[in-house]
Amino acid sequence: MAREKFQTLTEQMFYILLCLRQECCGTDIMAAVQEKTNGRVSVGPGTLYNLLESFLTAGMIRETKVEGRKRSYLITQRGEMALEEEYQRLLTLTADYRAAMDAPALPE
């Protein structure tokens, strides 16, 4: 079933928003995500462009600077909230996992 837009964040959305807690230009985000995840997560330029457009439309980021074709972005309060909600969701997941693992195993 299709996921409602930004109700949950994919890894790539999560790290792009995380990177944009500091003002960052589009082309630098790809490198920043790789660096932050030690190369585990890569964002392709097509995906990055489309996600930035969608984040802008949803008011989750804003444009801070335009120098020629170089545009910089920063996360907004709405974007921070989306990050926080995703963080809480991941915490719930890990807590549920921990609880399940710590519970005594059921007899077979």
Binding site: Q12, T27, N50, R69
Partner: protein, 455 residues
């Protein structure tokens, strides 16, 4: 040879198929230079290059220059090593020389939605308009087919037009169904975080072009004389209109007109030009038919009146069945047909300057229709019987008679005065209609039929 051209045969949405094809071409030493009606490649050293095809839904091929957004997108791509190569419509093609580049699209769901926006934005709309126009043409042919099937089936042009429309609709339907089927599966895969490659099939388009091309050449090969001129003229006009439109689009693009305005202007111009050319072509056909109606005829005068006599080569002459002198008659032959049915129509009339002799026939007309298909022979028989049955102003009709001259079935024309000297004879693969202005003997009928069957 440093350039190579090929027809673009992939469906528009088939981004993985196109990218893999370009990679194979690069391994063979061909690099894509530009897109268009034909894709142009230039000779380069053989190398392993990564190609990626993506879509920029808001762009159109008529935009005078890439938009700021498009340039920004290309900058993103460039920073990841993806160099812009060419675009076709809102499809964009990139290549990357790095050994293991980050793909252009790393989120499957976004990729599927971008392709969908591009497909819905322009491609499917234009395909829909083309399909609607050809469906209308097909519908009008089918409507005529229901009322008067022979008038459609015996002309190669009508058949070609109907089959070409049907093939084009099938091609559009196949691509559309193939796209939505891929999209449905791709969305399911994307929900699991996986990419689904597109089908990568070229054969449906190749088969479609082969069939259309083959049919068209067959149709042209069936045309003769002025019909061939008109056929070739029509093709030349269509290509000229397309050429002129492309030139105008290019000029307007160079002048900086927006893509939308360019499309609007060239659509209106193209429509008007098409209409004017159609009117001119129809006028030319009519005028040429008027001017050439006595082509190949011998003009002769009787008193102040000029008459025309024809000397066409016939399968059966009047002298073959009577004692009349052939030189005293005008022999005219008309032929047309398709692969379903061939029709030969002959009018033999006594010349007005021939010595008066009431014992000799003044006219003899016959039509022979042949077909390898029994259903066409049935249709041809029904067509003639219905022709007289449906006439309200003449009370004449074909009535079955005992088979004559070896025919499987025979009919004779009757009116209020009784039997007329006109026969409809059905044979295996052939229908003949013979109209005499004298009472033919059985021997004359047998001779006529025998000559026409073995023509």
């Amino acid at each position: 040879m440093n350039r190579r051209y090929e027809l673009f045969l992939y469906p528009f949405f088939d981004h993985t198929g196109i990218a893999r094809h370009l990679e194979r071409m690069a391994l063979k030493g061909w690099e894509l230079e530009k897109t268009g009606a034909l894709w142009c490649y230039r000779r380069v050293p053989r190398q392993a290059v990564h190609y990626a095809v993506t879509y920029f839904p808001s762009s159109t091929p008529l935009d005078p220059a890439p938009s700021e957004q498009e340039l920004l997108f290309r900058d993103f791509c460039e920073s990841a090593g993806w160099e812009f190569v060419a675009q076709a419509g809102n499809m964009q093609i990139f290549r990357n020389l790095r050994p293991d580049p980050v793909p252009l699209d790393t989120e499957p769901e976004i990729e599927v939605e971008t392709i969908h926006a591009a497909m819905m934005g322009s491609h499917l709309k234009s395909q829909g308009i083309i399909a609607a126009l050809f469906a209308l043409q097909l519908f009008s042919l089918i409507a005529r087919l229901m009322v008067d099937p022979l008038s459609i089936l015996k002309y190669g042009g009508n058949l070609f037009s109907a089959l070409a429309s049907l093939l084009l609709l099938a091609d559009i339907a196949l691509e559309t169904v193939s796209y939505f089927s891929w999209r449905k599966r791709a969305l399911a895969e994307a929900a699991e975080g996986r990419f689904l490659p597109t089908p990568g099939r070229r054969w449906p388009k190749a088969l479609y072009l082969l069939l259309i091309g083959g049919m068209f050449l067959y149709y042209l090969a069936m045309l003769e004389g002025k019909y061939l001129t008109v056929g070739l003229g029509t093709v030349a006009i269509i290509f000229s209109i397309v050429g002129v439109m492309q030139l105008i689009q290019k000029k307007l693009k160079q002048r900086g007109l927006s893509g939308r305005k360019n499309f609007l202007v060239t659509s209106i111009l193209g429509g008007c030009l098409g209409l004017v050319c159609t009117i001119v072509l129809m006028g030319f056909i009519l005028l040429s038919a008027m001017e050439n109606r006595y082509d190949g005829a011998e003009a002769y005068s009787v008193g102040p009146v000029t008459h025309y006599a024809y000397h066409d080569e016939l399968p059966l002459y009047i002298e073959d069945i009577t004692g009349a002198k052939g030189s005293e008659y005008s022999n005219r032959l008309y032929e047309n047909g398709s692969f379903l049915l061939r029709e030969t129509q002959v009018n033999i009339h006594r010349r007005f300057d021939a010595p008066r002799n009431d014992s000799l026939p003044t006219s003899f007309e016959y039509t022979v229709r042949t077909s390898p298909f029994a259903f066409m022979i049935n249709l041809a028989v029904e067509d003639r019987i219905d022709f007289y049955a449906n006439r309200t102003y003449f009370d004449s009709r074909y009535e079955p008679v005992l088979p004559l001259a070896g025919a499987e079935e025979a009919w004779q024309l009757y009116d209020e005065d009784g039997a007329r000297n006109q026969y409809l004879l059905r044979f295996d693969g052939c229908v003949m209609e013979l109209s005499f202005d004298f009472v033919p003997t059985e021997e004359q009928l047998i001779t006529a039929v025998s000559k026409l069957l073995h023509q």
